[in-house]
Amino acid sequence: MKYAIIRFPGSNCDWDLFYVLRDVLKVTPEFIDYREQQLPADTGAVLVPGGFSYGDYLRSGAIARFSPIMEDVKHFADTGKPVIGICNGFQVLTEAGLLPGALRHNMSLDFICKPQPLSVVNNQTLFTDQFEKDQTVMFPIAHGEGNYYCDDETLTELKQNNQIVFIYQDNPNGSTADIAGIVNKQGNVLGMMPHPERASESILGGADGKLLFESLVASVEMAVG
């Protein structure tokens, strides 16, 4: 079973994900070029990494979403298999319509990079079932456009369907309803601004993020049976 890491021009957290999957989780990651038409047949999960696809020109994620591989990522998501977008990956997934809402400039207009305490609001997803409900976790953030926006109607829906997965305890960027990460209605597509892959080894200051990857890997392995 492969963990497909999509690589756009300008992706730069691709290797960080690769190392966590290979060295910490001991699974098999594979880079998939944005120009590919199809994911490998044995793809168990798709990961859209952070970075600055196309330099974040125009809007972050706006150009990357037209990459050829995104068609197959959509099909993959439609089959109910896990897709996770982290940081720029989250921005790409919202631009691509796989997740509702959009990400605006941070309220301060500045890029912000620091460890950020989050609450796990929904520990019933395939990405979070190893966390406790309402557990406090420390994930670094590193973004200039991480200010989540959605209209009231969408927000009501997100709440009703329990789609809000992570919220900031101390909202750093102005996000609507302190949202740090959401899933789609089906629960198999996760987008989040904070970086769990930067918090998966204690030498880097914390390993809370490892639980997220462990949840994901367990669910992928289970699907294989």
């Binding site: 021009p9 300008g10 730069n12 957290c13 290797w15 960080d16 190392y19 966590v20 952070g50 970075g51 600055f52 196309y54 330099g55 974040d56 020109y57 500045d110 890029f111 912000i112 990079c113 620091k114 670094p140 590193a142 200039g144 970086h195 892959e197 930067r198 080894e201 030498i203 880097l204 200051g205």
Partner: protein, 734 residues
């Protein structure tokens, strides 16, 4: 559009003077060529012979620096230097100044400074793994400076963040003297498998020369010349050499170049970035270095604008461009590789088995000069130097006035140079690449070397105030501070890069400062066994004839042999014992408290003994290697009280300390000191190593900052005081 004067008119009208060539230099060009240079040729010489490219005023001084050592794989002379870090790996680093562009357009100036230094690193075959900076601004009391600071930080951050290179450290100070001359130095550190080492040389008759990366426009023409001139009020309108950075293009370019280097080793002959003086300097240097000539067809140079003349094409400093020399027959391979990264690779010429550097445009030979004349015959000047009168002052030291000791500490912690810099470094991605073990906020930054148990420590340092009062000792102290940071983090210093930011070398007093500072630094390099492997010189940092303080930034890298030696500044556990290592004297000239209380630094700098410094650093290394320390922090600006507060703030734990000294001494900046903490069970072992070179002053614990002196005591609530220190800079920036 520029009009090209005839050779005779260039001489008659002395056009070359506008481009920075003196009458003598022009005659020398005439002699080297055996004829008058034409317009293009004059431009080529003016650019390559500028201070920025040729170091004509600083070369004799740079000769003082030790540049060799048993770990040194590459000293100065290439894109960057390389130091062996065992296991077949090397660390590559260099620093670069972008002061003039940053003063004119802070966002783009700072951004393109980062872009330039990153290219130097990957041109060596190394992957950039960390960035640092060194920033010196004017006081934060006017809107213009606030804007400058904001935009400089944004420019550095946006470029490095987009490239995916963590910015892990740096320094920032504020003094009025930098108001019109921001100092913006950027340092990049890369990692290399030693087998992949590259050189910027173009050898082999008929081998193709490839231009890769962004198109050439008219931006930054004469940038090198511009960097070699002072600013003044009248000149405001001439400041037009702005270049816009495109970090996305550079990221693609970097990945393409690294793939070429790592996976097509056999076809690459040489690679160099197009930095100062763009195409001419990179191509001529590559040819000269290999002992070959070169022919370029300028019609083939990718161009963003129409109608560019050879002078403009050759001197443009458009960003994100590199020059390659590859083996003939592999053209398609190179073009395909760059196409994969949506980056352009175009053959623009070839190496020749001659000694001439020839340029063609529209089938005309537009320049034809001996390549060595251009690159190696630049004049070198020994400028007159004169000791400034301010250095000969009575030895007396400033006496701080302290009414309320608590109040004085709070005021000190609120000085922008002392206050937490988190509002700056949190705008940089310091964690991408997931190797950052010690993030900004402590002494040196530490990144692990993935796949090994080793780590690298790195720092940038300079205290221009000390150098202003005493350039020689100040130069030694800049080196010592850097080494102290490296040692405190558990590393052994390996070597340094530097940026020499000074005023105009035509001013004998400035030249004296340059001479003395570099002398002091060179001596310190010997003592710390840290050769200089790369560096950069930025002169003419003046406004209306007022030079900046001498500011030689030292960028030092150290090796941590195993991860259990990594040491941080934060106090860790209640009950740990706190020691101050080193003597404290009444040393107040040039200090933060002098600056705070009398608005300027003055007097004669306190004494400094570099032998004692080295001994104290070795002591800390011993303690760390024996696993006896919980924390280590070097003392610098602000002295003991500030150092203790910082270790407390970072550990979120209070202290209870008593020192046998007058209260003033809490703010003395006597060098060669550290604060370390020791677990109680290691007390005896630690004290045996420390001996007479340090003293137990108290314990970690509680929620107060409690420091007793022979006069008043400091007794402050930790959380509240930390808040003041954390918010001070952010408040003043708003």
């Amino acid at each position: 559009m520029m009009t090209e004067l005839s050779p005779v008119d260039i001489k008659a009208q002395k056009l070359y003077q506008q481009w920075g060539l003196s009458d003598d230099e022009f005659s020398q060009v005439e002699k080297l060529l055996g004829r008058l240079p034409n317009f293009t040729e004059t431009g080529l010489f003016a650019a390559i012979w500028s201070e920025h490219c040729a170091y004509k005023n600083s070369k004799p001084l740079l000769k003082q620096f030790p540049t060799t050592g048993k770990r040194i794989l590459q000293g100065p002379g290439e894109g960057a230097g390389i130091i062996d870090i065992d296991d077949g790996q090397g660390v590559v680093f260099k620093a670069e100044s972008h002061n003039h562009p940053t003063a004119v357009e802070p966002y783009q100036g700072a951004a393109t400074g980062v872009g330039g230094i990153v290219r130097d690193i990957f041109s060596m075959g190394a992957r950039p793994v960390a960035m640092l900076d060194s920033l010196h601004f004017g006081e934060l009391d006017d809107t213009q400076t606030k804007y400058l600071v904001d935009q400089t930080i944004a420019g550095i951050g946006d470029y490095g963040n987009c490239m995916g290179i963590p910015t892990v450290g740096g320094e920032t100070t504020f003094d009025d003297i930098f108001k019109h001359n921001t100092v913006m130095n950027a340092m990049c550190v890369g990692l290399l498998d030693n087998a992949d080492q590259q050189k910027g040389a173009a050898a082999g008759d008929d081998n193709p020369i490839y231009y890769v990366g962004a198109k050439t426009g008219r931006d930054g023409i004469q940038g090198a010349i511009f960097a070699s001139a002072e600013f003044s009020d009248e000149q405001e309108s001439q400041r037009s050499a702005v270049q816009v950075g495109d970090p996305f293009a550079e990221k693609q370019l970097m990945e393409a170049c690294l793939e070429l280097i790592h996976e097509h080793t056999d076809i690459l002959v040489g690679i160099q970035d197009m930095g100062a003086a763009g195409l001419v300097s990179s191509s001529a240097e590559m040819g000269a270095k290999a002992g070959y000539g070169m022919e370029l067809n300028l019609d083939l140079v990718p161009q963003r604008e129409a109608g560019m003349i050879p002078y403009e094409l050759m001197l443009s400093e458009s960003q994100e461009r590199m020059l390659l020399c590859i083996k003939k027959g592999h053209e398609q391979e190179v073009e395909d590789l760059f196409a994969k990264y949506e980056s352009e690779a175009v053959q623009i010429g070839h190496v020749t088995d001659s000694t001439q550097y020839k340029l063609y445009q529209h089938d005309q030979l537009v320049a034809d000069v001996p390549v060595h004349a251009l690159v190696d015959e630049a004049p070198v000047y020994h400028k007159p130097s004169r000791r400034p009168a301010r250095l000969d002052q009575a030895a007396g030291q400033f006496e701080p006035t302290i009414n309320d000791l608590n109040e004085t500490l709070i005021q000190m912690l609120s000085q922008p140079t002392i206050a937490s810099k988190h509002s700056i470094y949190e705008r940089y991605d310091s964690m991408v690449q997931t190797n950052t073990v010690v993030a900004p906020g402590g002494d040196a930054a530490v990144i692990r070397l993935r796949g090994t148990d080793k780590a690298l420590a790195m720092t940038t340092d300079a205290n221009p105030r000390y150098l202003y009062l005493e350039p020689h000792d100040g130069g030694q102290i800049a080196m010592s501070e850097a080494a102290r940071n490296i040692v405190a983090s558990g590393a052994i210093p390996l070597g340094i890069t530097d940026c020499l930011n000074f005023g105009s070398p035509e001013d004998p007093e400035v030249y004296y400062e340059l001479e003395q500072a570099t002398k002091g630094m060179a001596e310190a390099c010997e003592i710390f066994e840290t050769p200089v492997i790369s560096g950069n010189v930025s002169l003419y940092n003046e406004f209306n004839k007022q030079p900046i303080y001498p500011t030689p930034m030292v960028g030092m890298v150290g090796l941590i042999k195993s991860s259990d030696l990594i040491t941080t500044i934060d106090f860790k556990h209640e009950g740990d014992l706190i020691y101050v290592l080193g003597q404290t004297n009444g040393d107040f000239n040039g200090t933060e408290i002098q600056k705070m209380q009398q608005q300027e630094v003055s007097g004669r700098l306190f004494d400094f003994d570099i032998t004692y410094e080295k001994q104290q650093q070795d002591l800390v290394t011993n303690l760390i290697n024996s696993h006896l320390l919980q924390s280590a922090h070097d003392l610098a600006e602000g002295g003991l009280a500030v150092g203790l507060a910082e270790s407390s703030f970072n550990g979120n734990v209070g202290i209870d300390v008593a020192v046998d000294m007058p209260q003033n001494y809490l703010f003395a900046e006597t060098q060669s000191r550290f604060i370390v903490s020791v677990a109680p069970e290691n007390q005896a072992a630690a004290e045996k190593v420390i001996g007479e070179n340090g003293a137990l002053i108290g314990k970690v614990g509680g929620s107060q900052l409690l420091i007793r002196t022979n006069d008043q005591d400091i007794n402050l609530d930790l959380a509240k005081t930390k808040q003041t220190w954390r918010e001070a800079l952010a408040c003043q920036l708003n």
